[in-house]
């Protein structure tokens, strides 16, 4: 026991020198970035709004009131009513559930698959690397939204398929980031040490490579979330994502737009509020992503 504690003393920093762990360092940098904190707060509000939607929303998001078509903002309906007289505020609140979950699901898919591909390609190199990366190049050869449109038309238009399509489209970006992180970590001494101690490939990947490649992955995944929310809204706008009457933000804009030219004259609020919700959500994710990048990856600060 005495020996063990003596050893720890040697490793611990000399008294008087203040040391900060990587975590403390990260927290400090992140929270000194005002925009990142604002983004985090707004994003948290959106998440709370999504979780407690049934409690907050003043009306049923699907309840129609045809006499209130395009009624402007009022005390009863702060955001006004849409083309079928539905309460826009309630639909925006419920929309947070759908739009955020859809974005998260797409990014989760892209992150899991992309990470596996990036790890394999970066760690094993050689034919595995060139084969997998060639495959990624084929996906990247398409403008992303065009590819997503084809995938959805193959699978049939629905929100789930839109999430799947956007997820697939973003796999190469994640895979590339992970691969280059893995390559820079692969030759480090501590990986060599693990190998010398007889660790298997999978052990080295899980315990040595992956944790040390996390920083760029987290940053990329966050920034991808912003794009994913936008692209899913865009697919919904093209009629390939969420279908009416689902209160998804992009679909709300589509439904209002498709109701005819009158929406530009009398239903302007039906176009403005769902769009603000999308822009705010995406903007806050972008702020958080930029803050994370500055805090986790000092080289790419800018």
């Amino acid at each position: 026991m005495a020996e063990a504690s003596a050893q720890q003393d040697v490793i611990a920093a000399p008294a008087g020198v203040r040391t900060r762990s990587r975590w403390q360092d990260f927290v400090r940098t992140f929270f000194s970035n005002r925009l990142a904190v604002v983004g985090l707060v707004v994003l948290s509000l959106f998440i709370l709004m999504a979780i407690f939607a049934p409690l907050i929303a003043p009306y049923d998001p699907l309840a129609q009131d045809l006499e209130g078509k395009f009624a402007g903002p009022s005390l009863e309906h702060p955001f006004g009513q849409d083309e079928l007289g539905r309460d826009i505020l309630s639909r925006v609140i419920y929309g947070a559930r759908i739009s955020l979950t859809a974005g998260l699901a797409a990014v989760a898919l892209a992150t899991v698959v992309g990470t596996i591909i990036g790890l394999l390609a970066g760690y094993f190199g050689g034919y595995t690397d060139s084969g997998l990366m060639r495959l990624m190049d084929v996906i990247l050869a398409f403008p992303s939204i065009l590819l997503a449109i084809i995938i959805v038309s193959v699978l049939g238009p629905s929100l789930a398929n839109a999430m799947l399509a956007i997820g697939i489209v973003f796999i190469p970006q994640i895979a590339r980031v992970v691969r280059s992180a893995v390559i820079s970590v692969r030759e480090r001494d501590y990986i060599e040490a693990e190998r010398a101690l007889g660790a298997s490939n999978s052990q080295i990947i899980v315990s040595g490579i992956l944790p040390n490649s996390m920083a760029p992955l987290i940053v990329q995944a966050t920034l991808t979330l912003a794009t994913a929310i936008l692209d899913i809204a865009a697919l919904s706008f093209l009629g390939l994502g969420a279908q009416a009457p689902t209160p998804e933000w992009g679909a709300m804009l589509t439904d209002a737009f498709k109701s005819g030219f009158g929406v530009f004259v009398e239903g302007q609020h039906a176009l403005i509020f769902p769009g603000i919700a999308i822009a705010l959500a995406v903007l806050s994710v972008n702020f958080v992503g930029d803050g994370l990048r500055d805090a986790l990856d000092p080289r790419r600060r800018g």
Binding site: S144, L146, I149, S153, F264, L271, I278, L283
Partner: protein
């Protein structure tokens, strides 16, 4: 490109719904459907269908539109000028605004202008393009009645078509009223389409300028008394342009996706609009043609970017 063509072909064939059935409507008999399938070559095995498609594609023949019966290539060519005019104009706006603002932000880092520009750029990236388009229509088209929409020209304006580019044609025929009308129609869709590339270009110009301006040779130039503007434009900007050019090439993809949405909202008769329509009508040949055209254009533009790289940076060899 071959890989892309196989992927496109397989995916388009996997789209559910029988085009022969769609062409004839629900009332068609089995025999009629079978006859049409035979005429379109849809009853052949898939590899045979692919080879037929590939043989045509190499000769510039992408087959006939299943819905209109006209050759896909013709349909694309008719609509290409409208899209080129729109995307070209959007790109010009994006570069003309994005690069200078990016340079100024970098030179005056942390100034008010830099902060405003950076925040605006981030907001620009965060806005859905279809929402931006609708808001532009609401503000400038409906409320202020400043800009006309939809389409490329007002109902009373007529111009002689030579190249298919409204602005060029009207100038060639000295039709200045037509030029003005075309320009006004172009502004809103071009801004809607150009905002995201503009923001992307600005951010990249700023960060690569910042990086370059920290280099030794820039410090040397400053130290030996080179005029500040010369340091910025000659020593820094030329080197900072490399990543910016890459981003401009990649923005072409953004523009293509964006043009589908923008053209749909503004009833702009271009390739993007036909892409949207053909997906909705399950027009295999048309979708195939549009996507292949998009991917080919994308590959070509990024090839052009590589060439430009070699021009800008003598160290890069092709």
């Amino acid at each position: 490109m071959l890989g892309v063509s196989i992927v496109v072909f397989c995916m388009v064939r996997a789209i559910p719904g029988d085009p022969a059935q769609i062409m004839l409507g629900q009332t068609a008999t089995e025999a009629q459907v079978a006859e049409v399938r035979n005429r379109l070559g849809l009853d052949e095995p898939l590899p045979v269908q692919y080879l037929v498609f590939l043989k045509g594609a190499v000769r510039g023949d992408l087959g006939d539109s299943i819905v209109t019966g006209r050759p896909v290539v013709n349909e694309l060519l008719v609509r290409l000028p409208a899209t080129l005019e729109l995307t070209g104009f959007a790109m010009i706006i994006a570069i003309l605004v994005g690069v200078p603002v990016g340079v100024i932000s970098a030179v005056r880092q942390y100034s008010v202008l830099d902060k405003v520009a950076s925040t605006t750029a981030l907001t620009g990236i965060s806005m859905p393009i279809f929402w931006l388009a609708m808001i532009l229509i609401v503000i400038f088209g409906v409320n202020l009645e400043l800009l006309p929409f939809p389409g490329r020209l007002g109902p009373t304006t007529a111009i002689t078509s030579i190249t298919g580019l409204v602005l060029v044609d009207s100038l060639l025929t000295l039709n200045f009223a037509g030029f003005w009308d075309g320009l006004l129609h172009l502004i809103m869709p071009a801004i809607a389409l150009g905002t995201i590339p503009m923001a992307v270009i600005m951010r990249m110009t700023r960060s690569s300028m910042l990086e370059v301006m920290g280099e030794d040779y820039v410090r040397t130039a400053r130290a030996k008394g080179v005029a500040p503007w010369r340091v910025v434009f000659k020593h820094s900007l030329r080197n900072a342009m490399l990543p910016t050019v890459t981003v401009i090439g990649l923005s072409a993809g953004l523009l293509m996706g964006g043009s589908i949405i923008t053209e749909t909202i503004f009833s702009w008769p271009g390739v993007g609009q036909i892409a949207y329509e053909s997906v909705n009508r399950r027009d295999y040949a048309m979708i195939q043609g549009v996507v292949l055209y998009g991917a080919a254009l994308f590959v070509f533009i990024n090839l052009a970017v590589d060439v430009l790289y070699a021009v800008l940076d003598p160290r890069v060899r092709l």
